[in-house]
Assembly symmetry: C2
Homo-oligomer: 294 residues x 2
Amino acid sequence: MTRLAVGVDIGGTKVAAAVVTDDGTVVARATSPTPTQELGSGAVEDALVGVITELGAAHSVEAVGIGAAGLVADGRVLYCPHLPLRGEPVAQRVSQRVGLPVVLDNDANAAALGEARFGAAREAAVAVCVNLGTGIGGAVLAQGHLLRGANSLAGEFGHMTISPDGLPCECGRRGCWEQYASGRALERLVPGQRGAEITAAAGSGDVAAVSGLAEVGRWLGLGLANLVAAYDPDLIVVGGGVSDADVLLLDPARAALAQQLFASAWRPPVPVVRAVLGVDAGVVGAAALALGLG
Amino acid sequence: MTRLAVGVDIGGTKVAAAVVTDDGTVVARATSPTPTQELGSGAVEDALVGVITELGAAHSVEAVGIGAAGLVADGRVLYCPHLPLRGEPVAQRVSQRVGLPVVLDNDANAAALGEARFGAAREAAVAVCVNLGTGIGGAVLAQGHLLRGANSLAGEFGHMTISPDGLPCECGRRGCWEQYASGRALERLVPGQRGAEITAAAGSGDVAAVSGLAEVGRWLGLGLANLVAAYDPDLIVVGGGVSDADVLLLDPARAALAQQLFASAWRPPVPVVRAVLGVDAGVVGAAALALGLG
C-alpha cells in the first residue's frame, strides 16, 4: 500500500509543500509566501500549518517532513540568516497543531536523501552532495545514510576555508568556499544581474556570463577535490539553482576536480552529476525523512 | 578467554610488531629495519614474515593486522613514497607464508581504531583523528567505525588544499594542508634540526622552536576547523610524532580552531586531545583490526 507524507521546503521567498508517495512521486502541491523577518517565528509556523492542513485535508498523510536552510538540530532551526527562526521548537509546535508527527532537517540533508532514494545517488556507495544556492548546502551519504555528525551539524562545506585571508563571509570569517562557488559568488563576478538571469544569458552565449559560471565552476571543482580527499566518494551530486547552468558550470568544475584530485592515479574517476529531482528535491527528501526512509 | 593478534606498523625506518590482547594490552614486541627502496617489496614481505614468525612462535595468535603509511586498499599498498611497495598483494602473500589471516590497512586508520577501542576516542560519537608525522595521516570514526569511503581512500586530509597557489607538495599539487601542519612543515620553519630536536628545544624554551610549533599549531587549527565544518565531530585526536610537543602545538591549534570554528555559538566546543597510545597506536590498532574489532 502506498504511504503518503507531506514534504515541506522552507525557502527564502516561499514555503513549498507537496504530498509525496513512498516511491518519491509528487501527487499534490501547495505554496505560501515565506514570512518576513519582522513577522517572527509564529508567522512561519502559521505558514507551515497552512500548507500542511491544506494538503492533509485532501490526502491521507501519515507524517510531515520539513527542510530548512541553516543549522537545524533537535527539531529547531538554530540559525538561518534568511528566516525568522531562532531556536524555537518548530517541529514540536507544528506537530501539535496539525496532529501529525513532524521531522525538521537541514534542506541539504533533505535534498541529498531525495537523490539517494529516488534520484541521482541511488547506486552510490558514498555520495557527496552540494547544493549551490545563495550559499552552499552540503550533505554526505554513506551506504544511503546521511552522515549527520555529533550535533547534526555535519556537511557545512560552504564554510570550509579555501583561501585564508580571502573574501569576507557573512559568517564572520574569511575565505569560505561559498564565497567562491555559489549563487552569491556568481552575482559578484557578473554584477547587475541575478543568478537565473546570468545562467540564461550564458545559455545565449553572453561572454561575461559564461566566464562567470566557469570561474564559479573552477572553485567548485577545487573544493570538491578537497571533499574527495576527505570522503572518497564514488559520486558527486550538484544541485541548487546554480546547477541549472549544467555543463557551463559542471564542465569547468569537472576539469578543476580532475586537475586537483589527490591520488587520481589510484582511484576511479569520480563522476560529477546534476541532481535529478530539481526544485522538488527538498520536498521529496523531506517527505522521505518523514516516512522513515532516512 | 583472551584473544591475541600480531599488530604490525610499517614505518619509514623500522617495522614494529607486537602481540596485543583483545583489550589492547601489548604482551610482546619485535622489530626489524624497514628495507630500503632498492631491496623491493620482497624484502618488505620477508621483514614482515620475520617479525610475525618470531612473535607467533611464542604466542598463540589468531590473526595479523598490518598498518602502512600511504594509500592502502584490497590488501595492497597502492602508493607510499617511503616504502618499496607498489600495489603488490602484500596481505595475501604474507598470509600464505605465516599461515594466519592478515589484514592490511592505512596506518592512520589503524591508529584511529586503536584510540577508539582502547584510547582517547572511546566515548566519542564522531572522532576526527589526525597523525602529524612527516605528513598528515587522517581518519574519522563514526559510532566507533571507520569511515572508509568508496575505495578505502577516505581521510586523506593532508592533501586538502588550504591555500590555493601555496607551497608545492610532493603529490604534485600546491597548498596541501600537510605542507603547513606536519613534521616537514616544522622542519621548514625551524631549519637545520629534525622534528624531535625542535620539540626538545622548544621544551627548553628555545624561541625559534616554540614559534615554529606555534605556527604549525595555528595551521593545524585552521585545517581542523574545516574538518569540524564537514564532519561535526565531538572529539579531535591528534597523534604522531609532532604531537609529542603537546601544549606547545595543541594550545595554538585550539586557539586557531576556536577562532575559525563555523557556527561556534550553536555547537559545543570540540575538545582537541592528544592520542594516548603514543608509539603503540599503530600496532594496537592493527591488532584490533585483525581481531575484527574494526
